[in-house]
Symmetry: C4
Subunit: 222 residues, 4 copies
């Protein structure tokens, strides 16, 4: 008996594994995307813990058509972290979710994190506008100790509403290995390199073998 | 002279390499899958040892169509371990096989295992049903010592039949490197991220260059 | 107010993140490529620092058709580094760019660099011609110290014009992790192995299971 | 002035980089393959050293059609090492080549090799036949010392012809990084997992969200 409209749905019967797929989260987030989602695919990796859950999914980059007929990256993709608080035993309130979109370099920071290292990122949704500084988000990743995983914490400070939201999810070493591996997989995709490297034009007609310079000539042009 | 119906077929003539492909195992397991397998592809990595063999193959995730026309992950894939006992020199009894399906997080645990570390997973096929606890499966991976590989052990305890089955396969460092590399490759696929990240919609028509915010706006919406 | 024709465009309003996509750079470099770019895709990873910026993008290998109908690699791809100097606060002069194309082995050197290690590469655009030695390029990567990243430096010595251009970009550990991960992804593609390995011919018609030798027979032929 | 038929062709003019693509090697090896090569693609990574050269290319696995309409792996792919001796300065005799096909587990051994570790593999082309032991091949990889790379050595002992051929190629740390990275990329492909994991059947028609068990039911069947 699940419903997207009910606050605090119950996972008691379904949630017996940390790697449970959380379809509701994915489904709801669809509505947030302003782009035509008619063909899109959605998949998240979600961990449910006592006080909050953390769901992670990649977002594709955008390309723009060039006059030449080709296309170029117009916006990097990202890896979206979605936190939502527990409101009871295995009950989570998805309407109170907090989002944090990792840029490519922030993904690089996360996947190169040593067992005893921490990192922290700051985002301001209104940067460069007159509302700069009204809302401040920070994400920190700190070691649990003894090479046993990390705490992933989000803090959202809203100076207008005078509110501070904090959500914290402990991540085991195994869960972090999933994150590290899948984020490393996602990274070339969110900067668009997979599209550059797998678009293979047909080779020109048969030519006799030549040994060519290993470096394309463009290095020598200005 | 091979047959799927004979118990304890003979590998004497064929099996001279630890990396031998074990087609019979793959073929038989086909029958276990309830989904339309008309277009499916099957491939396992199998190691044959003195007392038992271990075969590993990935299982795709499932997606469900959304009303929007897109689709979302409805069930994670997994990595299936199949153990079967030796019943003579290079003879294995595939009818006595034991299965263990690794979830994404269990795959993460395996690929991040240090040379001297162990891990153990417990599965109950009847969890949440009235038969809970009747059958208990556990998989443990323990170091062989001196950075030379691992023992992979499965124990299946059946309280109804009062039976306990144990199978153990020693894995060399090289074989574990194959497992680690191919499981790391499989991980983004079994959580469906490859499908999310390689579904490239055509870019919109030519637009003048803009420098956009690196983070999609959805981070700032609720 | 951006323009490709203006020297020293202003990034003040747009540049607030090290991972900002630098479309102008990509767009301009299109013109440098002599091949039919009608279907090409372009994507760079760019870091903007105080004195210069560094943009990185992969270049596909070329294949030639064989008389058999197949094709073979005729030229390796590369990873192009583009440096351009700052000419003011967050202003960069793209017309003064310097290019350096990493060969596959040079990519191997970069991705295997230890935290305290350095590497240096030398290119001569006129090698084997009568102009050999007139222009010398070198790229060096040296540790910043304390496992905190690297300096990436390019020096272009022009003996004809009696000029020496030097550009240096400090790269954080997180940015280097992006480079290491995406260059590792690019490497099999720039030597063409992804095209060899993902061109799957249809399997022959149904045949009864055989256990075959794991090594193709071609090893035993001369 | 290159020719496939001439023994000892001259690389003087072309060979100025260790990452030079060696088209001749690829072209010639085409003839060795007994399968229809009409659509095949060929690409090698080759290092040229003083006494010999080493060229590496991946070989695809084979699949067989099943009666169900699907297909299953019938033969693992491999990674072929081709050695050929130098017969003068930058001259190599491709007719004296020696081949060694690495199985998946041998690839696992190579990519997990520590800086000070060695490994050695033995192949017998006539194993299980009456000619067993007539020709013995061994491949050894031994450290150069000081974390600076490896020696890759092949020895072919022919008891019939009373000959022993030995070829040895020193591999730098950067070249080994290329090998490790591209062999890690190749590994899931030569055991066929990429084909299993990227063959995505269309999802069934729209269904209401369900939370399913993370492990496919097949684990619980016998």
């Amino acid at each position: 008996m699940f419903s997207f409209h009910r606050r605090g749905f119950d996972l008691k019967e379904a949630c017996w594994s940390g790697s449970l797929t959380f379809q509701q989260a994915v489904s709801t987030s669809t509505a947030n995307l302003d782009e035509g989602s008619s063909q899109k695919k959605f998949a998240s990796y979600t961990v449910f813990k006592g006080k909050a859950a953390l769901s992670i999914h990649p977002i594709l980059p955008s390309f723009s058509k060039l006059e030449s007929g080709g296309s170029r990256l117009s916006r990097n993709g990202s890896v979206m972290l979605t936190f939502f608080p527990a409101v009871g035993q295995r009950k989570y309130d998805y309407t109170k979710k907090q989002l944090f979109a990792l840029s490519p370099t922030e993904v690089g920071s996360l996947i190169s994190l040593g067992p005893a290292e921490s990192c922290e990122f700051f985002h301001d949704p209104s940067m460069k506008s007159s509302h700069e500084g009204q809302v401040k988000k920070s994400l920190s990743i700190t070691p649990l100790g003894s090479d046993s995983g990390y705490f992933v914490n989000i803090t959202v400070l809203n100076n207008m509403q005078k509110t501070t939201d904090r959500l914290s999810v402990p991540i085991t070493k195994a869960e972090f290995a999933v994150m590290r591996t899948t984020l490393s997989f996602a990274l070339p995709h969110i900067i668009g390199w997979d599209q550059v490297l797998t678009h293979h034009p047909a080779p020109p007609a048969s030519s006799k073998p030549r040994v060519e310079r290993p470096h394309p000539e463009s290095e020598w042009e200005r």
